[in-house]
């Protein structure tokens, strides 16, 4: 199973992504990559040292900016939190447990945002950060089919997972998706991965 599909499946699973192999459960992208590497499947072996350093750095960029922005938009924006995130988070539980857990999660995310200095950011500033991150990714991708050489790596999987989530998750405003769509090479990158690896499933709606 290609790593892109692994990452995609685990991102769409929603919470902590994990794979279940035999009687082992490995969660989150980093350990999953290590696990598959130990099994002899690795996508980044052909990269040289400098490229591997760049790949790790860009992965951190995605974690640092994209993931944090997604969390911010979901939980620190009152309209989105109230209309979408809290109801979705509390849906598996009955009232009032669901409500309590949802508010607890929101409070936890807000505390984290304060700790890393994002507490006082406005939604506009966060959209601008997403824009910057997409610009960096877009420039790195350029006109190549994948980020490194002609072959997909962990970075491609991670970027695909996040961008796909942003493009397809319904939020109160489409601004986030619009910002991503404004980079045509990122959009065609996502479409290409979808068509190459998920051709039997129609996932992206126009």
């Amino acid at each position: 199973m290609s790593l892109a599909a692994e990452a995609f499946v685990s991102q769409m699973a929603g919470k902590i992504p994990f794979i279940h192999v035999g009687n082992q459960v490995v969660s989150e992208l980093g350990p999953i990559v290590q696990f598959t590497k130990a099994k002899g499947h690795s996508l980044s072996d052909s990269l040289d040292d400098v490229q591997r350093a760049e790949m790790k750095a860009y992965m951190e960029l995605v974690y640092n900016m994209l993931l944090t922005s997604e969390l911010f938009v979901q939980w620190c924006d009152d309209t989105t939190a109230g209309e979408i995130s809290r109801p979705r988070y509390s849906s598996p539980y009955s009232w009032p447990l669901g409500n309590i857990l949802a508010y607890q999660k929101q409070w936890e995310v807000r505390r984290k945002m304060n700790a890393i200095g994002w507490g006082r950011k406005t939604l506009e500033q966060v959209y601008e950060d997403v824009n910057q991150c997409c610009q960096a990714l877009s420039q790195r991708l350029g006109t190549q089919p994948y980020f490194f050489n002609k072959q997909a790596t962990e970075l491609d999987a991670l970027v695909f997972g996040h961008l796909f989530t942003i493009l397809t998750t319904r939020l109160t405003s489409t601004e986030l998706a619009e910002r991503v769509k404004s980079y045509s090479n990122l959009l065609s990158f996502c479409r290409r991965i979808e068509q190459t690896y998920f051709e039997d499933k129609k996932l992206m709606k126009d």
Binding site: D49, V50, A53, M65, R111, K112, I116, Q135
Partner: protein, 322 residues
């Protein structure tokens, strides 16, 4: 020309212009971009306009605290150290800065603020010695709990405590980050070409404290020193852009050289002594006045230590009521 912006930052030590990573980042960037800033090195975050350090007070009386905000502000004022970077290099900068913040910063927080030996023997002592009374009693402790909370939130673990496992994990990530930076730097002088950029400022800000500060648990420093190109990178920047601060303080731990090492502290110590003496004198005087050992005559004050006299007590009480 408008007055320069004011930058408040922590004082320096160990051969560095400032002991705080964020302050170092801003100072380095300002030097690289040639931004004229009015520097205020203080040891009291309450005196800073934003309540924390670093803080930049702009001409429009706006206060900026985050290093990235300060750098963006300086860029808008045309002090841009990234002017010569290509689009791809700019993107790489962003990526490597994220790498620093995700992988190296937690280890930095741990090694300076959470690791028990380091905190007690170096960090807390430094801040307690450099802060004024009475902040030195409670502020270092408060700073530590804030840093611990930040580390907990970054790692997503509410019950994080100092320990060997955590230390191993964090240091492993930090070592990997340093290796990656070393690989990217190669044998170049700076990360992008011959002139430094914002990425150089960030790397310098994070690595310089590790390189220069002698800690009891110095595993990070050992690893950094094994990466020659990174150590040379930091030393180079100190030499070129901070020549005055780059001098090692003579015998920083020896009590035999208090003049040179404590030069900045002498006014504070004298002031403290003077204030304590004044306080003691005032306490004794008020006690003497209240118990009637001293009587105040009209016009002038006599500080006489006479044993309490019934007549005098009576006279003093009348005057006290009047």
């Amino acid at each position: 020309m408008a007055a320069p912006d004011e930058l408040f930052c922590w004082e320096g030590d160990w051969g560095l212009p400032s002991v705080s990573t964020d302050c170092l980042v801003v100072l380095a960037y300002a030097q690289f971009a040639g931004a004229p800033l009015k520097l205020r090195k203080i040891c009291n975050p309450w005196r800073s306009p934003g309540g924390s350090l670093p803080a930049l007070r702009t001409n429009q009386n706006e206060t900026l605290s985050r290093p990235s905000d300060i750098i963006i502000h300086l860029r808008k004022q045309k002090f841009n150290a990234d002017f010569d970077l290509s689009a791809k290099e700019g993107a790489d900068s962003l990526a490597f800065i994220s790498l620093l913040e995700e992988k190296l910063m937690p280890a930095l927080i741990y090694t300076f603020w959470v690791e028990p030996k380091n905190f007690v023997e170096v960090t807390r002592r430094w801040y307690a010695e450099h802060m004024m009374f009475p902040l030195n009693f409670f502020l270092p402790g408060r700073m530590q709990s804030r840093q611990l909370e930040k580390l907990r939130l970054l790692r997503g673990d509410e019950h994080l405590e100092a320990g060997e496992e955590l230390e191993k994990e964090l240091y492993r990530d930090a070592a990997e980050c340093m290796n990656l930076l070393s690989q990217r730097l190669g044998s170049h002088k700076f990360f992008f070409g011959d002139s430094p950029s914002s990425l150089d400022a960030y790397v310098f800000g994070h690595l310089a404290p590790i390189l220069k500060c002698r800690l009891p648990n110095g595993k990070l420093q050992q690893h950094l020193k094994s990466l020659d190109n990174l150590s040379d990178f930091c030393s180079n920047i100190l030499l070129l852009y901070f020549p005055r601060d780059g001098r090692e303080p003579p015998a920083q731990k020896a009590a035999a050289a208090p003049e040179a090492g404590d030069f900045d502290n002498v006014p504070n110590k004298r002031r403290k002594q003077f204030l304590s003496a004044l306080f003691a004198l005032g306490a004794m005087l008020s006690y003497a006045l209240l118990t009637g050992m001293v009587s105040i005559q009209h016009g002038h004050q006599e500080a006489l230590e006479e044993p309490p006299d019934p007549e005098h007590i009576g006279a003093h009480e009348e005057e006290g009521d009047g």
